[in-house]
């Protein structure tokens, strides 16, 4: 049994006729594993994780066949029960560290809050633990930073604080939602290194939501490619990069700027992600797919095993001939 098991997750905003933002998503993450979720903006990456954390507000609502974490059925929990897990066993860090911290409270207060909430630590013990956490995330002069307010910190420093807050409850699963997108390139590498070190040291599972395929190639063991709310391909990292089965994965890899060196223009996939009113009846990629055939436009493929990965395509690429 995986640490996290999600089957057929649907997230809709509005009534049952609304187009699902996340559409029949399956995802399994084992303890101590790094899984990357990639896909363009609006493909449902973050919403999936928000659904797991219970952060989807009305008019949004979720349905799933399974959503279990460490043996607990997350769908059956009351808000109070869920909050015992969220922030402790499952923690999340967000994209823009400069706005993710509360401007009115000190760094120390915001870390100690988690310690008090989930570990029952108070006063000196909490302060001591917060200090250790700041040292753990390699913040210089940690002692004085406890009294600092978020506006006194740089972006990279703020993200370190957010990470300290997230690991305060000793999570089994850490979700990093584009943790480096808002940071300078030099800082990005440092933050990724810190995350991977923490992950290995604590044997936490790490879900990495990102646009950055280079980061995925370096860190993740498995990757889930999402398109328009669906997982279109799930596979092991070197294989999926070398021999993508789904045309969208191929297009995503081709769009990496380094792959277009010498070319006049960057490789792109023409068209845009289908919206609310032009969602195709068949395969969601069919209007943009360079390999589209007739039945792609009328029938929707399922996520099925191909030779190297799971892919949602009738005519997968790079298949070994049996």
């Amino acid at each position: 049994m995986s640490l996290l098991q999600i089957n057929n997750l649907n997230v809709r905003f509005g009534d049952a006729s609304a187009v699902p933002v996340v559409d029949g998503l399956d995802l399994a993450v084992d303890a101590g594993e790094i899984v990357a979720i990639v896909g363009e903006s609006g493909s449902g990456k973050s919403v999936t994780m928000m659904a797991l954390m219970g952060l989807i507000d009305a008019p949004g609502w979720i349905t799933a066949d399974t959503m279990s974490f460490a043996g607990t059925d997350m769908l059956k929990l009351s808000g109070r029960q869920r909050r015992k897990i969220v922030g402790k066993d499952i923690a999340m860090i967000f994209q823009d560290p400069m706005t993710a911290l509360n401007p009115s409270y000190t760094v120390g207060f915001q870390i100690e809050e988690v310690l008090r909430q989930h570990l029952g630590l108070k006063g000196k013990a909490a302060r001591q633990r917060a200090l250790e956490l700041l040292e753990k995330v390699e913040i210089p002069a940690a002692e004085s930073r406890l009294q600092a307010y978020p506006h006194q910190l740089s972006g990279g420093m703020s993200q370190r604080v957010a990470i300290a807050m997230a690991i305060a409850g000793e999570p089994k699963l850490l979700i990093a939602d584009e943790p480096t997108t808002a940071l300078d390139v030099t800082i990005q590498a440092q933050i990724m290194e810190l995350l991977v070190n923490l992950q290995q040291e604590r044997n936490m599972a790490l879900i990495l939501i990102t646009h950055d395929l280079a980061v995925v190639a370096e860190t993740a063991k498995r990757v889930c490619v999402m398109y328009a709310g669906q997982a279109v391909e799930v596979g092991q990292v070197p294989e999926l990069f070398d021999v993508p089965a789904h045309p969208y994965s191929e297009a995503l890899l081709a769009a990496i700027p380094e792959h277009s060196i010498g070319a006049e223009r960057l490789a792109t996939l023409p068209g845009i992600v289908p919206g609310r009113y032009d969602r195709p009846q068949g395969c969601l990629l069919s209007p943009r797919c360079p390999y589209v055939r007739d039945n792609c436009r009328t029938q929707r493929p399922a996520l099925e095993p191909k030779s190297q990965s799971l892919a949602r395509c009738f005519y997968p690429l790079n298949q070994e001939v049996a």
Partner: protein, 336 residues
């Protein structure tokens, strides 16, 4: 911080001259003079009138009168009332606790109800409660205080008989003025039921005076809260597994309060203006009623210096609010 205080104190000087000049001029623009009012309906003997005016120094040219007035102020002398011969300062300090008690009660009412209504309206945005609160607050803000006061007296005091019509306390009760605050004095006194009586006298005027600040605070809290609840750090707080109450009140309200605090400070001026009307309607023996009577009697020193004292008070309160603002908002504190 010191330069900030110095700058603010520097601004006081032009404000001070503006206020003295305005009150000095405005009270003299009203037809009639103190002597005429004192002599009442009887025909005024022109000779006696001139004598009295000369005794009061009111026969001198206006610029000379103004300079005399400023000279007097420069020596820290606020003059004495033309009617009672009491010093303006001692009258003010005697009556001020009554106004302060009323204003604090009104602010308490406005603050507690306004914040709660604003927060709930923001959380239940678009609901019936939200529309109800916003509609009522618009009505409350637009309502003339004197009309609203009279309506409440008609309903609660006259028809239902729940509260007394006017005053601070039942005149039959003998309360020794120790602090000037009737709620405290009545508790300290031996009179039975005095505290309840004082409280019942206070409720209606406090509601009337608090209505406009309440409306402003509720609307401001709602819009500020709506903005704050969309912030990323609210999502972070929720992702920490904190209870909804803690997310809203510790992480949300603390930030939403920053603009509300400013409005709170600005309302103090409106509150003292409102106190003039409220005290008159409820015969509340405070500085509002005192000023209205002084204007009626053309009691120049009381009007001029009473308004000057109130203006100083408003400036002082806004000054304190500015400092509180820095305390509430670390980003501002560190800029200075």
């Amino acid at each position: 911080m010191l330069s900030f205080i110095a700058r603010r104190l520097g601004l006081l000087i032009p404000t001070f001259f503006g206020i003295t000049l305005l009150t000095f001029a405005l009270i003299r623009l009203i037809p009639g003079d103190p002597v005429e009012v004192m002599m009442g309906e009887r025909r005024v003997d022109p000779e006696m009138h001139a004598q009295a005016m000369e005794r009061l120094g009111l026969n001198k040219p206006l610029p000379v009168q103004y300079l005399d007035y400023i000279g007097q102020l420069a020596q820290g002398d606020l003059g004495e009332s033309l009617r009672s011969r009491e010093s303006v300062w001692s009258e003010f300090t005697t009556l001020f606790p009554a106004t302060l008690e009323l204003a604090l009660a009104a602010l308490f009412f406005a603050g507690v109800v306004g914040l709660l209504a604003g927060v709930i309206a923001a959380l239940k945005r678009g609901s019936l409660f939200d529309h109800g609160v916003m509609g009522l607050s618009l009505a409350g803000y637009s309502m003339p205080i004197f009309w609203w006061g009279l309506i409440l007296i008609m309903l609660f005091s006259v028809s239902l008989g729940w509260t007394p019509v006017s005053g601070r306390i039942d005149p039959l009760l003998d309360i020794e003025p120790r602090t000037g605050f009737m709620l405290i004095d009545s508790l300290l006194s031996d009179e039975e039921g005095a505290f309840k009586d004082a409280l019942m006298h206070l409720i209606l005027p406090a509601i009337v005076l608090g209505t406009i600040p309440l409306a402003v605070i509720a609307r401001m809290t709602r819009s500020s809260m709506l903005e704050v609840l969309r912030e990323d750090y609210i999502r972070t707080a929720r992702a920490k597994g904190l209870s909804p109450a803690r997310v809203v009140f510790v992480h949300g309200l603390r930030n939403a309060l920053i603009p509300v605090l400013t409005v709170f400070g600005l309302q103090v001026g409106a509150l003292l203006a409102g106190a003039v009307l409220t005290e008159t309607i409820f015969s509340w023996p405070g500085i509002g009623k005192w000023l209205i009577e002084a204007i009626g009697a053309r009691d120049y020193p009381v009007v001029q210096n009473g308004i000057l004292l109130i203006a100083c008070l408003v400036i002082l309160v806004n000054f304190v609010v500015d400092i509180l603002y820095g305390l509430a908002n670390p980003r501002i504190r560190h800029q200075r």
